[in-house]
Symmetry: C2
Subunit: 414 residues, 2 copies
């Protein structure tokens, strides 16, 4: 999958450590019985950062989500470290809050910072007690190995059913200073719009106030993570958080304006690429799907239509089967919860192999099945929906529904 | 699967022809290349009936749905015949309305009734032109074979990916007269709450006004078909319609009261049993799932919670894998779009093999995996959710998500 970049921004290496001041590490502490797989990760900044976060909308909020929220409230949007584990979600258990606080305490002691400056996240099985001893036993090793080189160790520590680690970073200029913004993400199943999605940790050395970080994050999540669906299940543990060290030396962004826009775009690009990576690595996925809705009366309608198509199990199954079933796409457009006219809709299927219109003026049309089948044989499929009733547009991302999705989820706990 | 019945009602044979005055038939007209499979069906009543219907909420409404609506409006809720085909949905094509009207016209000519007294329905592939010649060529055969014995021919004519025909009928007393109410349904995929669901044809010989038929249908659909989900896709062709011949001889029910309640309960029982049959025969299903939500602050909340659990792909996959993954059930309860407290929730899994509590006071608890695994090995699984914060309750129905669902839908058109 090709990464998306724009003029004025360059892709750089380093993931969550691309920005000045950030170090990271990951290790296997034993939550995962496979000693070759990291299950405990940390991100740390040498100085205090402005911070912001967006959380799951699930009413069952995992303990680490609640503790992170408490900490950001207590500090007024400041933080210096993130500790995260995989294999156990620390959600829906009687001692969850105690364990989440203990994780922050263990990190804080070693890092010699207040526990409120530590954010905590977990991912894995819901409803099982989190064993804390593995974390206690390995916190020293985790902290002593923190370095700017170890961003991959952290990125692999948050993987669950993910088949690849997800890291992206960009550089850009603010106020004549070179800034960097990068991040890592995990998430493969239990992914659905209308939330903050999965676990995502973003760092930057740009100087940005906590309030403007929060605004940028809220806006960018709406058109990236919240337009992503793998399976329609909104997790209990979702969280996106961002830390800004200010070490790039630019004048702090504390209001909207050109500098804010430049920063926002960097954040958008990193979230956009992570979102696309998450879609491509959806549980069991054999194909990456992008639905763009153009010609919409307003952006909200465009988002709703694109998401409706991306979420349809029947469209997802048809894409797996390389079946250009325009009726299913029309059906999903038709039940999208927005008001628009379906009589002017056109649908085109596209990929590296070409494109073919399968629906025009709201009706199925004759098309070359041979061309359609070549188009759908590719890994990255683009479903282009034009409502032909306005100029607003939006995109949504997902993946096909495969035997492997069912296989992975028929026995996830073991 | 055991049929559900109540005191004062008896299960009877005859399906859509159980009620006095109704005849039916089905045949293969060639829409289905397999000559052994019926694809054209008809229900007819010797005298004019009161009628009512509920339609899909999809904005893309198939032509037959629109024509049926037009006809019931034109007649003020009267009808005498239903013509229906499978294999082609007659949806999202340029000449759909013309073809749907032609089907009614062909039936009306042969039956010697006005075309407005014919209701029409189609099910099958969306977006492909409906060939009308097969219908023209077989309408004579279809009409000449109409009889009270041929209800099964009609019930099989509406099957698509259904593996079994669905028919239920009950008898009951109104006003000292024996009445009958029966129906047939199809539907296996593209089934999701918030609509009228699939194709369902109900007949009764009870005398009931069109207005009261509509009220009873609206109310019963809410707690039966609309609590059913196979895959989250709301079809373009869904329709439930009911015809009442009045031939039982009871005084016409034209207002609410005891007689109306007796009639409503008969309708509810037939729709309930058809709903459960549809769930059990969901595309690729290996298990029938029923989620009951009790202890809810109000019925709406109970419905939303039960549906949220039944719709979760992760819960459905876990049931297929016989995995007592309480975290996924809690997660689905947590993202249900209703306001309630998740801290008092308990969850029990039950089947013919016993029951086991897996969640208490909002948290996962220790349970016997061996017992859970025996319970989940059964075909009919009951997920019992108690919110412990009120006395309202509701049920929702669905099925597990299996390899076969993906297989069936990866290439449905061919």
């Amino acid at each position: 999958m090709q990464l998306i970049i724009e003029d004025g921004y360059q892709l750089v290496d380093g993931g969550v450590c691309a920005a000045a001041g950030f170090v990271a590490n990951g290790c296997n502490c034993g939550l995962n019985p496979d000693k070759n797989k990291n299950d405990l990760g940390m991100v740390f900044c040498g100085q205090e950062c402005h911070a912001a976060a967006v959380y799951t909308t699930n009413k069952v909020k995992a303990a680490p989500v609640r503790v992170t929220k408490e900490h950001l409230t207590a500090t007024g949007g400041r933080a210096r470290a993130i500790i995260v584990n995989s294999k156990n979600a620390n959600a829906a258990t009687a001692d969850g809050m105690e364990k989440a606080r203990r994780m922050c305490g263990l990190a804080a002691d070693r890092l010699e910072i207040p526990p409120e400056e530590v954010l905590v996240a977990s991912t894995g099985v819901i409803g099982q007690t989190l064993p804390i001893k593995p974390v206690e036993d390995h916190i020293g090793q985790l902290v002593s190995g923190l370095s700017a080189e170890n961003h991959e160790e952290a990125a692999t520590a948050i993987m669950t059913t993910d088949t690849v680690k997800k890291e992206v970073a960009v550089s850009f200029e603010l106020d004549g200073k070179v800034c960097r913004l990068g991040g890592m993400a995990k998430g493969s199943g239990m992914i659905h719009p209308d939330m903050a999605t999965t676990l995502n940790f973003i760092t930057t050395d740009a100087a940005v106030s906590s309030a403007m970080l929060q605004k940028a994050l809220d806006d960018a999540v709406k058109v990236t993570y919240n337009c992503l669906s793998v399976d329609g299940d909104t997790s209990t543990n979702d969280m996106v958080c961002i830390l800004a060290s200010g070490m790039a030396g630019n004048a702090e962004i504390a209001a909207e304006g050109d500098e804010y826009q430049t920063f926002y775009r960097a954040l958008y690009l990193v979230l956009l690429n992570l979102t696309r990576m998450l879609a491509a690595d959806g549980e069991g996925a054999s194909k990456f799907l992008e639905c763009s809705c153009t010609g919409a009366p307003d952006q909200e309608t465009a988002v709703i239509v694109a998401k409706s198509v991306i979420c349809s199990p029947l469209v997802k199954s048809a894409m797996f089967g390389r079946d250009a079933n325009c009726g299913r796409i029309l059906c999903a457009i038709g039940y999208a919860k927005a008001e628009f006219d379906t009589d002017s809709v056109s649908v085109t299927l596209a990929s590296a192999a070409g494109e073919v219109e399968v629906c025009h003026d709201g009706n199925g049309i004759a098309f070359s099945e041979e061309l359609a089948s070549r188009i759908l044989a590719e890994d990255d499929i683009y479903i282009l929906v034009n409502l032909n009733q306005g100029s607003a547009s939006a995109k949504a991302w997902g993946c096909d529904l495969t035997y492997d999705y069912v296989k992975i989820n028929a026995d996830y706990r073991s």
